[in-house]
């Protein structure tokens, strides 16, 4: 795994160095804008059937009046910056392929590709004689999407559990939670950029998320609670905070999409399922962390205190629980979980942007609402349902750029019939 990581990191470095150079050298008929001017990218790796990279192959992306051309770099990577997300016709110029290399049978060229919410779009071309592009059968596809959805749902759950804990103990619907998610990924990128080892960057980012949660509670929410500010004003304050933090991040991070180390990972076959190692790691990490949170909540005194505060703060305080300390701890935990969720989200998409957290904020809300506002295990179940639902709708024919709509729609429908959510209790609905 570490070796694989090192390889993909070096590939990334080469890509950064060589991509602009190769583009400047290419004598293209239309002016080919440099990648830095656009926030959206279509990219991929060209490798033949022996997995050797193919260099100097011309690739064109077209949509309407826009045409972008590039040549693949020495390691086979190519990248075309495009002005906006949408459908593009990507064509590989077969005359520029090296001698003896042919596209695989059944490989569509030119082919239409469509962005699905993320600003980076990978396009794979298969090469080689005898290699036939497999038309994935429905069952296979379903299984793959199911596992990917589970991975996505569990990373959503990391963020939702924090949001739900905060809601349960303080009553606050925190619209700034998306920015806590973004912060995790941005911190990893920043720590990695200043040269810290990857594992240290990960740990520091999660701790940084916890610190941000603590600072928020200490500097903003606790004083507001002391003033007796109502829940609706606090909600609007959290919106202000979300806007401010989002643009502070953009101020320092910029508007472009960046990649974390090891973000490129080819899919591996695991039994009947093909999954990328990153997704597999993400699935494992989030499952373990959520299990830990569950054990802490159910088995320890601290967990019992947290549940008591969530149930009735006044009664908890009367029975000797330090409510402020519990809430502080919930904010720190929520920040750390959101941060970890953000890092995993950066690998799932893949890519880091300043608005990546607010992009899934509503899915997090959907998960929390589905499960029942304020219930931790409800948030877990709700998020997994949302994650799987988002991935499965594409299998059943919903367009990729509409896949979030299904999840949001389901949330509204559930509210219609069971407003308290799956695990919620009636009296919370009010």
């Amino acid at each position: 795994m570490r070796l694989l990581g090192a390889i993909s990191a070096s590939i990334l470095a080469i890509l950064l160095v060589t991509a602009p150079a190769s583009q400047a050298a290419s004598p293209s008929p239309t002016p080919s804008p440099s990648n830095q001017t656009f926030q959206n990218n279509i990219s991929g790796f060209l490798r033949d059937d022996t997995r050797a990279p193919l260099a100097g192959v011309t690739i064109t992306a077209k949509s309407g009046d826009f045409t972008g051309t590039t040549k693949s770099a020495a390691n086979g990577s190519w990248n075309i910056g495009v002005p906006q997300q949408g459908t593009y016709t990507v064509e590989l110029d077969e005359s520029t392929l090296p001698e003896g290399i042919k596209l695989a049978d059944g490989q569509e060229n030119p082919r239409d590709v469509t962005f699905s919410q993320t600003s980076n779009l990978s396009v794979i071309f298969a090469f080689g004689k005898g290699i036939v592009v497999q038309q994935q059968d429905f069952g296979q596809n379903l299984l793959n999407r199911l596992v990917a959805g589970l991975s996505f749902g569990l990373l959503l759950a990391l963020a939702s559990v924090g949001l739900s804990l905060i809601f349960g103990t303080t009553g606050l619907t925190n619209f700034a939670h998306g920015e806590m998610v973004t912060l995790g990924a941005v911190l990893v990128f920043a720590f990695n950029a200043i040269g810290l080892p990857f594992w240290l960057a990960l740990i520091l980012s999660v701790l940084g998320g916890g610190l941000f949660g603590y600072a928020q509670d200490r500097g903003l929410w606790r004083p507001l609670r002391r003033r007796g500010t109502g829940l609706v004003p606090m909600m609007i304050v959290s919106i202000g905070l979300a806007l401010a933090v989002r643009y502070v991040i953009q101020f320092y991070f910029g508007g472009a999409t960046q990649q974390l180390p090891f973000a490129q990972s080819p899919e591996i076959q695991l039994g009947p399922v093909s999954i990328s190692p990153n997704n597999l790691w993400s699935l494992g990490i989030s499952a373990v962390v959520i299990a830990l949170i569950g054990i802490v909540l159910l088995k320890t005194r601290l967990g019992k205190a947290t549940r008591a505060v969530a149930d009735n703060p006044a009664l908890a305080a009367a029975s000797g629980i330090d409510v402020d300390a519990v809430i502080r701890l919930v904010w720190i935990t929520g920040g750390m979980l959101a941060s970890l969720g953000g890092i995993l989200w950066a690998y799932y998409r893949p890519g880091v942007t300043f608005d990546m957290g607010s992009a899934i904020l509503l899915l997090i809300f959907a998960g929390v609402t589905l499960g029942g506002l304020g219930t931790v295990f409800g948030a877990l179940i709700g998020s997994v349902i949302v994650g799987i639902f988002v991935e499965l709708t594409t299998v059943f024919g919903l367009a990729a750029d509409l896949k979030y709509v299904g999840a949001l729609f389901i949330m509204i429908v559930v509210l219609l019939f069971r407003p308290q959510g799956i695990l919620g209790r009636r009296e919370r609905v009010g």
Partner: protein, 322 residues
């Protein structure tokens, strides 16, 4: 740095059509949140429904201007009904989450490539404003330094603001408005007087939504284009900032709030760009200066909510929350 130019362009924002659109949409929010206590976080969705309802009916079906206007109003009323049915019986934060989700659903649907022939997907739609400008009664020429098109849209936009403000003012001092304020203060008390709280809330949601749809049209007409990226959740949050600046439970508050919002944005942009160009500020570039303004909006929204929730004109007793 040319202070005269900076001040002039900031003053120009006071009566710009965009400010009129923000004022109308914020007035709709005042009906929702300020007067009825409904936490609508999907006003951007209502604006999108209005703008797209008008643009699509004009472009795809070739209807005349006033039919398009009517379709936009009907579409936003239906949108309000669809939103209201599942949520108006629930607590405020549920309505907030559902409305923000519904607004995003609208934005995803008009962005999808599946509907490109109808909605133009991410590029949006253009060239639907001909019917509107064909009604321009002002002959060509200069009106206060504007051409007749710019002058016409300002007259219509601000005329609409004036009419809607008057209507809302009349509504809110009528018995109907008093019931609405009663619901905001204590829903159960109003219910015990035999009023159908659900129906009143629904009517308020529809009226505010129609104001949002009109705002969406005023927003798109001067641009001659409607694009989904303009109708994100940020738009709603900016509208809340306008509303809180002016005052929640007031008629003129949202209008003045929108004016202050745009003047301050224009002033900060002018001054920051001026400082960067003159070399006085080197730690910023112009892109970052744009972002700095939005950081200020966020901070302003927080500070307003914490320290002066009633806004410039508001009465602290008239807040939708205690």
């Amino acid at each position: 740095m040319d202070f005269g130019f900076i001040l002039a362009s900031a003053a120009g924002e006071i009566f710009s059509p965009t400010t009129a659109a923000y004022a109308l949409a914020a007035l709709g929010l005042a009906v929702h949140f300020g007067y009825s206590g409904l936490l609508n976080f999907g006003q951007a969705g209502f604006m999108a429904v209005g703008a797209y309802g008008f643009a699509i009916s004009t472009l795809s079906f070739g209807v005349p201007f006033f039919v398009g206007l009517l379709i936009a109003i009907i579409a936003s009323s239906i949108f309000a009904l669809l939103l209201g049915i599942p949520t108006l019986r629930l607590r405020a934060d549920y309505l907030a989450i559902v409305t923000i989700a519904a607004a995003e659903i609208v934005r995803y649907i008009v962005t999808t490539n599946q509907l490109t022939p109808v909605t133009g997907s991410a590029n949006g739609l253009a060239a639907f404003e001909g019917g509107f400008y064909a009604m321009n009664p002002f002959p060509e020429g200069s009106y206060f330094g504007m051409n007749n098109r710019d002058f016409f849209i300002r007259v219509v936009g601000w005329g609409l603001v004036a009419i809607c403000c008057t209507l809302v003012w009349l509504l809110m001092r009528s018995p109907w408005g008093r019931v609405l304020k009663g619901i905001r203060e204590d829903e159960n008390a109003v219910r015990s007087l035999g009023k159908n709280v659900y129906a009143y809330k629904m009517q308020a949601l529809i009226i505010g939504g129609i104001l949002g749809a009109l705002a969406g049209m005023v927003f798109t007409l001067p641009r001659g284009a409607v694009q989904p990226a303009n109708y994100g959740t940020e738009l709603t949050f900016f509208l809340y900032t306008c509303l809180l600046l002016g005052g929640l439970g007031t008629v003129l508050g949202p209008v003045v709030g929108a004016m202050i919002f745009w003047v301050v944005l224009s002033l900060t942009q002018g001054i920051l760009y001026g400082l960067i160009e003159s070399g006085a500020v080197t730690w910023l570039n112009t892109v970052q200066a744009g972002q700095l303004r939005y950081i200020l909006v966020g901070v302003a929204l927080m500070l307003l909510m914490i320290f002066r929730p009633q806004g410039v004109f508001g009465n602290k007793k008239e807040l939708a929350f205690a």
